[in-house]
C-alpha cells in the first residue's frame, strides 16, 4: 500500500554518488521524504517535526561509508535514531512496592484494556509467580465487568466482584482491602474507556489514581491509532502520572506510528505489545522491530516466526530423514513442498514483511505466483501415486492424460517436470552436504539481510 522509506530515499538520493559525506541539501531532500513516510505511518505531526530536526542534526556531515549509498546511509541514521527514541531496551514492570502492588489500566474505549488486563494477569502469575487479583471499575459499558470476570476465570486469577450500581472509587477501595486480606502480590485495576475530552471521566481516573497510588499506571493504546495518539497520550499523562505504555493489536498490519507518538509525548517506556486475542499473546517490547515497521522496512523477525509456525516441522524432518537414507526425492515430496508453500499463506502477505518486498510484490503481480502454485498442485494431483513415486514413468501418453486431467497444456507438464528435476538436483546436494552447505550456497544468492545473522 505504501512505498517503503528506503524506496523513496533511493529514488531521491541514489542519483548522487561519489560524495564522502551527506550534504545539507541531500539531507533536506531526504527529510521531506521522511516526513511523508512518517505521516503515512500515522506518526503525529508535532512528533514528526521534532524527530526530523534531530535527524537533520545527526545526518548532515555524516560520513557515507563505502559500502552504502547516500540513501542507505541516511536510512541508517534514521533507524538508529528511531530505535533510540522508542527506547533502547525493554523496561520491566516495577513491582518493588509493598504488596499488594497496584497496577492501574487506562485508555480510550476499545483500545484493549480488559484483554490486556487478562494477559498481564496471566503473565504475572505464570512467569513472575505472583498471586494476582483483578478488578473492574468499568460501571458504564454493558457487560464490561462480566467480561473481566470471564477473562480472569480463563487465566485462573482471582476477580474481585463489582457491580454496575457502585462508584468506581468505592470498588477500588474494597478491592484493595480484599487483596490485602488475601495477601495478594498484585492487584490490577481495569477502568472504563474514556475520551480525553470528557472532563468528568478524566477527573474520575485522576481521583482513582490519587486514591490507589499505583506502582504502575499503564496507558493502553491501539497501535492503529492515527494523529490523535499524541493528543490522547498527552491528556492522559497530564491527568495521571503514567509509568508505561502497552501497545495493542500489533498483530494487525498498521505501521504503528502511534508507538513513536506516544513514546515521545509521554516520555514513558513502552512495556508490552499485545499481539493476538489469546491470553498468552503479550510480548515484551522490541524497539527495533517497531522502528523497522514504522519505516516500512519489513519485519524480518515476525516473518521468521511466522514461517517456523506454519511450516510443518514434522514433515520437514521426515523429508530430511528420507534424503539421508539416500532415498530419492520424488514427486510426492515435491507436492508436499508445494502444499507447504500454499500453507504459508499468500505470497503477498509474506513479501510484505520482507525488506524490499514491495518491489518484488510489484513484479509478482504480473506473474501471479499463487496461481502458479495452484496450477502446479493441480498437475501433481492429476498423476497416479505410482507416477509420483517413479517420475520416470511419465511418457508422452501419460503426460497427455495428466494435462487433460488438470486442464493445462502438455508443455506445462513438461515445465513442471523440469522444475522438479532441478529441485531434485538441489536436494541431492543437500543430502550429501547437509543443511549448512545448502544454506551457504543459498546465502550467496539471497539478498543481504535475508538470512538471520549467524550466532
Amino acid at each position: 500500500m505504501f512505498d517503503s522509506l528506503s524506496q523513496r530515499l533511493s529514488g531521491v538520493l541514489d542519483s548522487i554518488r561519489g560524495q564522502g559525506r551527506l550534504t545539507e541539501e541531500q539531507v533536506a531532500t531526504a527529510s521531506r521524504e521522511l516526513r511523508m513516510a512518517l505521516l503515512e505511518a500515522d506518526v503525529a505531526l508535532p512528533v514528526v517535526r521534532d524527530f526530523i530536526t534531530r535527524i537533520k542534526e545527526r545526518a548532515v556531515g555524516a560520513e557515507v561509508t563505502k559500502s552504502l549509498t547516500p540513501g542507505q546511509q541516511f536510512l541508517k541514521v534514521v533507524q538508529q535514531e528511531l530505535t533510540a527514541t522508542l527506547g533502547g531496551e525493554s523496561a520491566p514492570l516495577n513491582l518493588r512496592a509493598q504488596p499488594p502492588v497496584v497496577i492501574l489500566m487506562a485508555g480510550l474505549q476499545g483500545s484493549g484494556k480488559t484483554t490486556t488486563t487478562g494477559k498481564l494477569a496471566r503473565r504475572l502469575t505464570e512467569i513472575d509467580k505472583k498471586k494476582v487479583m483483578v478488578v473492574s471499575c468499568d460501571v458504564y459499558r454493558p457487560a464490561a465487568i462480566e467480561q473481566l470476570r470471564v477473562v480472569a476465570g480463563q487465566v485462573g486469577v482471582a476477580c474481585f466482584p463489582s457491580s454496575v450500581g457502585q462508584k468506581p472509587g468505592a470498588i477500588a477501595d474494597a478491592a484493595l482491602a480484599e487483596a490485602r486480606k488475601q495477601f495478594m502480590d498484585v492487584l490490577i485495576v481495569d477502568t472504563a474507556g474514556r475520551t480525553t475530552i470528557d472532563a468528568e471521566m478524566m477527573a474520575e481516573i485522576a481521583a482513582l489514581h490519587q486514591q490507589l497510588k499505583p506502582a504502575e499506571t499503564l496507558f493502553v493504546v491501539d497501535s492503529m491509532t492515527g494523529q490523535d495518539a499524541a493528543n490522547t497520550a498527552k491528556a492522559f499523562s497530564e491527568a495521571v502520572a503514567l509509568t508505561g505504555v502497552v501497545l495493542t493489536k500489533v498483530d494487525g498490519d498498521s505501521r504503528g506510528g502511534a508507538a513513536l507518538s506516544v513514546r515521545q509525548v509521554t516520555g514513558k517506556p513502552i512495556k508490552f505489545l499485545g499481539v493476538g486475542e489469546k491470553s498468552d499473546k503479550l510480548e515484551v517490547f522490541h524497539p527495533d522491530r517497531i522502528a523497522n515497521r514504522i519505516l516500512g522496512q519489513g519485519d524480518m523477525l515476525s516473518l521468521i516466526e511466522e514461517t517456523t509456525r506454519k511450516v510443518d516441522q514434522d514433515k520437514a524432518a521426515k523429508l530430511v530423514e528420507k534424503l539421508k537414507k539416500n532415498k530419492r526425492f520424488d514427486l510426492d515430496d515435491f507436492r508436499d513442498q508445494m502444499a507447504q508453500m500454499q500453507n504459508m499463506g499468500s505470497m503477498e502477505s509474506l513479501l510484505d514483511k520482507l525488506p524490499g518486498g514491495a518491489q518484488m510484490q510489484a513484479q509478482l503481480k504480473s506473474a501471479d505466483a499463487e496461481k502458479q502454485v495452484r496450477r502446479t498442485m493441480a498437475i501433481l494431483n492429476s498423476m497416479t501415486p505410482q507416477e509420483r513415486r517413479f517420475p520416470d514413468l511419465l511418457k508422452a501418453s501419460r503426460k497427455r492424460r495428466i494435462a487433460k486431467g488438470s486442464g493445462v497444456e502438455v508443455q506445462q507438464v513438461n515445465q513442471l517436470l523440469r522444475q522438479f528435476e532441478s529441485t531434485r538436483d538441489m536436494m541431492k546436494k543437500f543430502a550429501g552436504g547437509g543443511m549448512a552447505k545448502l544454506m551457504r550456497g543459498l546465502g550467496g544468492r539471497m539478498p543481504k539481510g535475508m538470512l538471520p545473522p549467524p550466532r
Binding site: M1, F2, M36, L39, E40, A41, D42, A44, L45, L108, Q109, G110, S111, G112, T114, T115, Y140, R141, P142, A143, A144, E146, Q147, L148, R149, V150, V151, Q154, T195, T196, I197, D222, M224, T225, G226, Q227, D228, A229, N231, T232, K249, D251, G252, D253, S254, R255, G257, A258, E277, G345, S346, S349
Partner: protein, 311 residues
C-alpha cells in the same frame, strides 16, 4: 433533531472552535494570501488524520483557485475550502434506505476489535425501532468474553428481541437461526453482530465469508447491508481495513465511531477520498442517540464551524 445533532457534532468536533479555520482571517495581509497559509492548512488537515492523499487533493484544489485569483479574502477562502471538502464528501453521503419489501432486511456488522460494533448495533436497534420497525439482534460474537451479555444488555435497553447461543457457539449458525426466527415472526430488520477480527487474520476473514454464504441460503441477496465499523481515531490503517474486509464480504457501507474522541474527525475525509463506499452513520458519543446518519453538508459546516444555516 437536526439542530441538536448539528450542534452536537460541532461541539464535539471542534470543542466550540474550528481547528481548521479558526484564524483564517489572520492569514491575509490586505487582499493577498500569505505564502504559508496553505502550508498551515495542510498541516492542520494532516493533524486531523485527513491523510496524505486527501490533504494533497484539497491543497491542490485550493492552490489552483488561489492562482486563478479567485481567492482574495477570508470569505472566498472559506467558500473554496468548503467546496473542495464537499467535493470529496458528497459522493459518499448516501443514507441507508431500508426498502419495505425486503423482510427481514439483514444488516451484517463487521470490524476490527474494539471499533465499537456492539455499541453501534445497540444504537442502530434503537434507531430502527423508533422508526417503527420490528428489529431483532443476533449475537454473532461468540468469541469475546461477555460479548453476548453486552449485546443482551443493549437488547433489554432498546426492548428488542435477541437471538443468542452460548460462548463458543458457531457464529454462522447463531445468525442463521436469528434470521429464521425473524422470518417466522415477520420482523423487519435483523442486525447481526460478529466478533472483532483483525483483517490480517486469514482464517477469521474466512469465517466471515462462511457466515455470508450461510446467510445466502435464506436469501441469495443477503446480507442486504454489510457495515464496516471503523474507529474514528484510527489512522491510515482504516483504509487497509476497509479494503481487506471489502475483499472478504463485500461492504456496502461504513460506520465511523468515536468521532467525539478525536476532536478532529479528518479520517472521514481520508476514507471518503480513498473508497467509494457510502458513509452511513457516524457515532459521536456513548448515549443511545449519539449515532446519526452522515450528512456531508452538515459535517463540513461542523468541520469549518460556519454559522448554522437558517432553514
Amino acid at each position: 433533531m437536526t439542530d441538536t445533532w448539528f450542534s452536537k457534532v460541532r461541539a464535539k468536533l471542534n470543542q466550540g472552535d474550528s481547528f481548521l479555520t479558526r484564524d483564517l482571517g489572520t492569514l491575509f495581509s490586505g487582499d493577498t494570501l500569505d505564502d504559508d497559509a496553505l502550508e498551515l492548512l495542510e498541516e492542520r488537515l494532516l493533524l486531523a488524520d485527513a491523510g496524505v492523499e486527501a490533504t494533497g487533493t484539497l491543497i491542490a484544489t485550493l492552490s489552483s483557485e488561489i492562482h486563478h485569483g479567485r481567492v482574495r479574502n477570508e470569505g472566498q477562502l472559506r467558500e473554496a475550502l468548503r467546496k473542495a471538502l464537499l467535493e470529496i464528501l458528497l459522493p459518499v453521503s448516501t443514507p441507508l434506505d431500508i426498502p419495505p419489501f425486503i423482510k427481514p432486511f439483514i444488516v451484517f456488522v463487521v470490524g476490527v476489535n474494539g471499533a465499537g460494533k456492539t455499541t453501534t448495533i445497540g444504537k442502530l436497534a434503537h434507531r430502527y425501532k423508533s422508526q417503527g420497525r420490528k428489529v431483532m439482534l443476533a449475537a454473532g460474537d461468540t468469541f469475546r468474553a461477555a460479548a453476548v451479555q453486552q449485546l443482551t444488555t443493549w437488547a433489554e435497553r432498546t426492548g428488542t428481541p435477541i437471538s443468542a447461543q452460548g460462548e463458543g457457539a458457531d457464529s454462522a449458525s447463531v445468525i442463521f437461526d436469528a434470521v429464521q426466527a425473524a422470518r417466522s415472526r415477520q420482523l423487519d430488520v435483523v442486525i447481526a453482530d460478529t466478533a472483532g477480527r483483525l483483517h490480517t487474520q486469514g482464517h477469521l476473514m474466512e469465517e466471515l465469508r462462511k457466515i455470508k454464504r450461510v446467510l445466502q441460503k435464506h436469501d441469495p441477496y443477503a446480507p442486504h447491508e454489510v457495515l464496516l465499523v471503523v474507529d474514528g481515531t484510527t489512522g491510515g490503517n482504516a483504509l487497509v481495513q476497509a479494503v481487506q474486509f471489502h475483499e472478504a464480504v463485500g461492504l456496502t457501507g461504513l460506520v465511523i465511531t468515536k468521532l467525539d474522541g478525536t476532536a478532529k474527525g479528518g479520517i472521514v475525509l481520508a476514507i471518503a477520498k480513498r473508497l467509494a463506499l457510502p458513509i452511513r452513520y457516524v457515532g459521536v458519543g456513548e448515549g443511545i442517540d449519539d449515532l446519526r446518519p452522515f450528512d456531508a453538508r452538515q459535517y463540513v459546516d461542523a468541520l469549518m464551524n460556519t454559522p448554522e444555516t437558517v432553514t
